[in-house]
Subunit: 653 residues, 2 copies
Amino acid sequence: MSDFDAAVRTIQFLSVDAVEKANSGHPGTPMALAGITVEIFSRHLRYAPKDPKWPNRDRFVLSCGHASMLLYSTLHLAGYDLSLDDLKAFRQWGSKTAGHPEYGHADGIETTTGPLGQGIGNAVGMAIASKMLAARFNTDTETLFDYRVFCLASDGDVMEGVSMEAASLAGHLRLDNLVVVYDDNHITIDGSTELSFSEDVAKRYEAAGWGTEHVDGHDPAAVRAALDRATARKDRPSLIVARTTIAKGAPTKAGTSSAHGSPLGKAEVEATKKAAGWPLDPFHVAPGATAPFEARVKEVAPIHAAWKKLEAGLTGDRAALWKRFRDKELPSDLLAVLAQATAPSEKATRVLAGVAEQKLAELMPGLVGGSADLAGSTNTTIKGAGDVAPGKFAGRNFHFGIREHGMGAIMNGLALSGFVPFGSTFLIFSDYCRPAIRLSALMHQQVVWVFTHDSVFLGEDGPTHQPIEQLWALRLIPNLHVVRPADALECAAAWAHAASRKNGPTAFALSRQNLPTLERPAGFDPARIQDGAYVLSDAQNPDLVLIASGSEVHVAVQAKKILEGKGKRVRVVSAPCLEAFAELPESARAAVLGKDARRVSIEAGRTPPWHGILGDGGLAIGIDRFGASAPAGKLAEELGLTAERVAAQILAT
Amino acid sequence: MSDFDAAVRTIQFLSVDAVEKANSGHPGTPMALAGITVEIFSRHLRYAPKDPKWPNRDRFVLSCGHASMLLYSTLHLAGYDLSLDDLKAFRQWGSKTAGHPEYGHADGIETTTGPLGQGIGNAVGMAIASKMLAARFNTDTETLFDYRVFCLASDGDVMEGVSMEAASLAGHLRLDNLVVVYDDNHITIDGSTELSFSEDVAKRYEAAGWGTEHVDGHDPAAVRAALDRATARKDRPSLIVARTTIAKGAPTKAGTSSAHGSPLGKAEVEATKKAAGWPLDPFHVAPGATAPFEARVKEVAPIHAAWKKLEAGLTGDRAALWKRFRDKELPSDLLAVLAQATAPSEKATRVLAGVAEQKLAELMPGLVGGSADLAGSTNTTIKGAGDVAPGKFAGRNFHFGIREHGMGAIMNGLALSGFVPFGSTFLIFSDYCRPAIRLSALMHQQVVWVFTHDSVFLGEDGPTHQPIEQLWALRLIPNLHVVRPADALECAAAWAHAASRKNGPTAFALSRQNLPTLERPAGFDPARIQDGAYVLSDAQNPDLVLIASGSEVHVAVQAKKILEGKGKRVRVVSAPCLEAFAELPESARAAVLGKDARRVSIEAGRTPPWHGILGDGGLAIGIDRFGASAPAGKLAEELGLTAERVAAQILAT
């Protein structure tokens, strides 16, 4: 058996054995794709297992994350810090080898995959990042960045709309550093792909500007030739349609959907091993199985060393830029700097946040992003910076097209490559990209979602465009912070918060409509805003505490005046970020919310989740129905969100 | 001016004037597409404005809902119940003419559109429904159903992944009764489509099995010929790529993105009207403008009359089936019938709900549906009914492919056509189809979402597959009921609830893992389950009320035993549907939740929104972090959701 075959067989059977031991998992795809994976890792991929975060490494993305054992087995053989014991702990609590690859659990896992289609989008983002890094750091004589991205994808990956959105942009941007291998096995969980899928996938990708190859995925020479052609292709990404047999080599289950998501079973495993002349003892590593990887690592070592030398030799502006990019360093007085730049003005928070963003962009070279075709409305374009466009990657502004979900998956790929990406659209369309937002949060990636038109007060576009449940639906995602600022200072604080929050994503909810500037007490410390909620306007021994966010803070301020006219003592709390507030000690929260006063929340969205903050006797004023098409002022009247209506509701209950 | 031109011009200027009057809206696309629309309405569409719900009418779907004035102006001229005053009330509170077309606001609005891509998916669902109705009700000599679907779509519609998913299935199913006109105007909000979109859209649709046409959208003869070819095409849906100029005819704004989403402005309106020789007074209807529609309605009248005669003449099984289908009649003892059919058994609720569904399928001929490639896991296949497949539409089971979002949009189209569709996938992937779920709710459509694998207790697949925030994120959508049953009887009740709920969608959350059967008090009335929450197991003068849903009801039952051993008096409340519960009178809710006892919620998901039900001093036990990959039992231990851990938490606080 050749070393190559030893590697392939070992990966196949390590995968089979680990799934069998866990009594759970997906054996068929690792068996089918082991050959292609070894070919990629032994001849194409540039990597350094002992320096797994080498910035110019080629990326390997397993978009079909259910085939996780394929990745784990390969990383083990390739010399990454992943032991046989780790493989034996597949799918167990606390192990590095989760059911699906989890970013951060082990070296060599480039992204968390499993929700189908996302990996292709991440790969597109990484490929864009490579070109953007090249445009920033390469010179005529020194190439710091030219990494490629190899991605394995399943039927599910190519059927999901998110991948098509990302692939469309990849073709548009002519990402010739991206190779996607599509595992065309004609099998999905429900059976043959003929049940639901008769597309000419290659033609579809060609329509999007990709080059394509067709290959027998089990013919090593053909796979090699196809990968050679794909990596040599200029001006367009490549899709290799690899016809494979799921569970290749399993006597009765090969080519069947039963091999997709369940262990093969003892008898089938034995029969498969016997047919392959493989030892029956589990977790066998064949002699020579690591050799192809060792040879490749040796081959890449000088490239890696040369890169380290280049990096160490950086001087002047390039060195400084690289350090600022890599370390995401920020001024310690960031909030003050952004606040200084964001002059108070009676404008929409979407405008004011855009002003703060301009200043941050000066300070944070890794900040890049764009809009899903709403740049004029979301005000996120970085002024003076060019567009990211075909052949032009020095810019910072993306045109993602009307592809919110693809945008999200690409943003995650950019974040995983060291950028701090932002993406903007209307808040209602956060629903379109929720799976990608969740993955930002799960992977602890610093991603900024700029959602504007954050309430019914966008007005005439009506209920399809008016967020009602979106604010709270976002707040429910673990590790996502939702920031809904009320004026210029809070917008500056919002960006300061997002810029400082390196272990997770932040989502802004910004108004379409103009808002007044809040009056704050003399000596107000803007750092209080970072607490997530703070006393904006107090009263002696208050009997009412009005808690509001964004545009409704101004309603609260007005309502306070009316209520004071009726003899009430009213505190107003501005609460731009409930997640930050929840992280405060109990006593600090109680100091803001008061102890004995009745609490009232005012927010133009769903009310039930507010009650945890309000407590018994509290009143949640908001909107628990879909919106309507009408001018904003009329909506405020009809939906009970004018200061007068709010005050009346408080007094009536 | 010909009558045809009078109609086109009138639609263009009614649209321009209404946008101008509202000072808000999208004039450019109605101007560009008026000609194509008049062509469709005057030569192709079969409709009866005075019988707008005629079941065999052709459907006209404006997927680019922002061009709503195009639809309203056309419906007005075509004789639907939509007056000039209605047009003048465009985008005002309570008017029929909302910013985007809202289903139910006016006759002739076939679906709510605005969120891009959804309309194409709805159109696919309607086209499938036509073929399914034909397979059920046509005979060799009588054609009750053969309606076609015409859909207008914008760049945004074709860029969104949801439309690609739906289009892929449409091609697979060879829907030759579907014609989509793609408004290829090279303009999006951000400017030229060249910024982000260089796909060959026709080629992409060809790859998915569509026939395509290219046409100058402003050449009436060419449009006519293309529509003739498209409607005559057999065995595949048609895409007509119509090259148009946005705001055609506006002197300075034609062909620019400034005409997309803002009024043209007084000066431009005047200049446009002058150039067209059009009266400057707004809302002018040219003589002859209604003639093309009147002629078409007259042409269709005998077809409509013949259909009514056919329907009236139905006899025997066909007549009975049609009545059952149309009226969605159900036995008054539905819950008892389903409960009888769903034998208690220690199985997963995904299995038990599948049993109840089988019985319901016998009773409800309109119940059809399928899975996004997880039929084996979600147990939704209707036994004995065939598949919906190319050329075969008598079946009831769909293979939607790995296209959750497309599935959702198609389900909405099926529901709008009189079917009661269900779609199934894992609960985590509800995130992939949220925009479609929201539209089910907004349109008051009876759609059933069968989400299984409803908690971390799916186990080893890990955090990417484990819902945490999804239960509450769904509960936040207005008019959606979320039902999480705990055993066979509750599964029967879940389907009874969904079947009876004709004014909105219902989503099930079902366990992957087996669950015991609940013991209920003697004489328990199953109708109590329909209250949404009920006392499962009581205590004299309880000092603790444990409120749980789904699999955690069993944890509560076990915890009760432990707590009783510690001297506590414990009531257990099973709460399968909090939305139904919220509709009860306050006193009825208080009777279930108790007044003085401490309330504790137990649910394997996010906790904060529970506090509104628990009140001060309440304890919400759940999961406020992402899950992990491990066997279910281990997860229960580690995440504090065993009965022992739950009891300990209650006693400790």
